[in-house]
Point group: C2
Chain length 495, copies 2
Amino acid sequence: MGDREDFMSRVNDLYRFEAIQGHLGWDQETIMPSKGAKSRGEILAWLAGQRHSRLIEPELGHLISRLENTEMDDFLAANVREMRRKFDEAVKLPNQFVSEFTKARSEALIAWQKARSDADFSQFESHLENMVALTQKKVEYLGTDNTPYDVLLDEYEVGMTVADYDPLFAGLKQRLVPLLAKIMKSDVIIPSLPEEMNFPVAAQEEFCNQVSKAMGFDFQAGRMDVSTHPFCAGLWPDDTRFTTRFDEKDPFSCLYAVMHESGHGLYEQGLPRDHSYSPVGMAVSLGVHESQSRFWENQIGRTSAFWDIAMPWFREQFPECPDWDSETLDLVANEVKPDFIRVEADEITYNLHIMIRYEIEKMIFNEGLAVKDIPATWNKMMKDWFGIDVPNDSLGCLQDIHWSMGAFGYFPTYTLGNLYAAQLLHTMSKELGNIEEIISSGDWSSMLTWLRTRIHENGSVMTPSKLIESATGNAPSPEAFLNYVESKYSKLYNL
Amino acid sequence: MGDREDFMSRVNDLYRFEAIQGHLGWDQETIMPSKGAKSRGEILAWLAGQRHSRLIEPELGHLISRLENTEMDDFLAANVREMRRKFDEAVKLPNQFVSEFTKARSEALIAWQKARSDADFSQFESHLENMVALTQKKVEYLGTDNTPYDVLLDEYEVGMTVADYDPLFAGLKQRLVPLLAKIMKSDVIIPSLPEEMNFPVAAQEEFCNQVSKAMGFDFQAGRMDVSTHPFCAGLWPDDTRFTTRFDEKDPFSCLYAVMHESGHGLYEQGLPRDHSYSPVGMAVSLGVHESQSRFWENQIGRTSAFWDIAMPWFREQFPECPDWDSETLDLVANEVKPDFIRVEADEITYNLHIMIRYEIEKMIFNEGLAVKDIPATWNKMMKDWFGIDVPNDSLGCLQDIHWSMGAFGYFPTYTLGNLYAAQLLHTMSKELGNIEEIISSGDWSSMLTWLRTRIHENGSVMTPSKLIESATGNAPSPEAFLNYVESKYSKLYNL
């Protein structure tokens, strides 16, 4: 067997283990009986161990080194590049450290759940200190010429550093804060759902299925299920599964979760199948993944053009709903309101939520902010930027799961998703023509085809920012997003 | 690491791979989207390869040999015994042969599906010849001092040979054939379901859930789903899943499938969890597994005592059903009728169906019956034993999937299940008292506890026949079963 074949066979094995982990994780979140949790945890840990011991095999390192010195096509080169990253990281981290981290994380997760439910930061404080300390140790093991926080940012969106994010966030803040102030002063009144109405689960499911199919999600190569927190799992070639949740008082919560997760699902269904079970055949980054979900959820789904098409479907399922026009539904779906919870935020305040987390993470890892000072820092920023007083830490710095899992540096990818989506929409409209007209036509296949070619089919052959540049002609930037929200919300709120 | 630890760690790894295969197989049969079939087939083949390469590692063989010469407790001894079997078999079969067999089997399976649907044996003949030839080759590789068919029988029920089955089946036939003749002459009329009635799926599900819970199946440690052919998969500690199917014209089909599969499920839920992921922690054999399903399905479920308890549950779900008494339902559930299809057969004719398959398999492997002569042989036996003319091979020798999969020697375990179940019932009634009274009381926990202690908790520490002997005081024999059916059907049919 030649080096390339040997390398690819090892890589494929690693990614097959990962796919199995993904499948058992999906099952755990959706349909596993409750008592199965213990044995599921054990088998997932065992799979992680199987995968890790293969990843650190010295022969894999030798193969990578030898291939790095040969001529390679773009796909093999991308695989070698990504495996170099993974191999180096796995080899640099001592086994004992990885176990310690894993153990601390499960303890922190349990403490966080309790602390959030009791709105009591003190229960979580020592665990968070531990996660921060272990993460700092991890940064030391990995080593860097940049700042410590850069190491963490790079884990979630390759190539992005503080030097990239700082100007990007500054640019966003400069125009989002005044826009928000203007919206707050608008006298446009947002209608609300009639309180006495009930939206049965079966009918919501039917409606959301219809929307997801219209987007192009292939239900012969995927499924929709129910879980506490909606998510999408690529799982297997031609088997992509996403989830949603149902609230009988609010059909929009499920609808936009489905559009969001279907957007992720379309990306997974469009990945290059010739390269399954290898890095280059996977989605390139969290930021690009989020751009696909946000594109469909916000830029398609939260428009009056969408409701022109979807209102008859909606009324078919809920014949007793008020006789709203699509402009009204557009307003309902786009209400802007500075509030405490990120996952419920509108398009304007969402990125401000992210920035607060980014600034605090930067302070922790680059400027030595003490964990005990996080709540006060958080609350001050909410007051300064949103003008609201955080009543307790459950509505403040305890709301997100990420830190309890040691996922520092993850949040900014959400904002990247929003920016990328706006850049894609802008270029798409230049090439395909008026997007509102396409949405109103009900045939959305041209948009999906465009995303397939520009994004999905490229897998991870380019870095995230190169991919966005190749798809849109511009490097990642906040410009398109700001133009999009300023124009959209000026119309909605008569600014 | 000592030999025992090294051995057990390797064994646990093998069985973890097997559990993953089981999980992905369950998913494939129940909820996998259709286009996922190709990648699912690939990953299952990959897992089989991963497992096989670990099984044939020479160091495992050395460990087994060394342990065989040490003092071991019963559980470790059982594990070593079973791994010796598996290791020897895996090592004796050349890789190329295993691939050839696997390939021939998938082709035969496809040909069989088509042949059955077209009722055309000629489409399947050459494939079946191939499967027989490969199976004969397999017997040669494995080697034996007994007859070739004995090698195959032993694969599915360790320790059982032609010398065991022949007298057992002869004893059965001797009393079942006259019993059947008497029943056929009885003037008892079996009522049938009102044709115009519909039994909605949701109500059937509710009813069957209630029955399964009454049996003691723990739905916090298991699930019920839907598949074309009902089955039960042990999967994981505290995560056992069975399936059923729904026919809106016939609620009994689903009910008895659920009781059957819940019986399998109770066995899985009762296995010794300290020994998970090793042979001794698994169900001991197909025959014993089938005894658990048949016990609940037939000996509990097809009685008027069962209907005393279940009729109110049934009527709650189907308020418009006729006002039958439990004796009537007992008759409906126990109708005896010589017919073509095994899986739809009653308790009397079922074992005759099995015997036809056993005799033909014995003729093929021990007496050189040519594949082309199978249909005529089959049809003659159906005429001789059942008095019916097989109109086409779909209702004859093409009805079962087993031969297309090369599973020769499997069928007799179904009959063993029936015999074991009757032996268990007989001993249970001596120890717990009148079983009809226990069933009528609605509290079935004493029966489950008895099965737990006598069967489930023993895992595979004994051979199947030793387990039955230890549970009932008697070696496997047809006596208890014959007494059971003679007494039951004499009453039902006024013989």
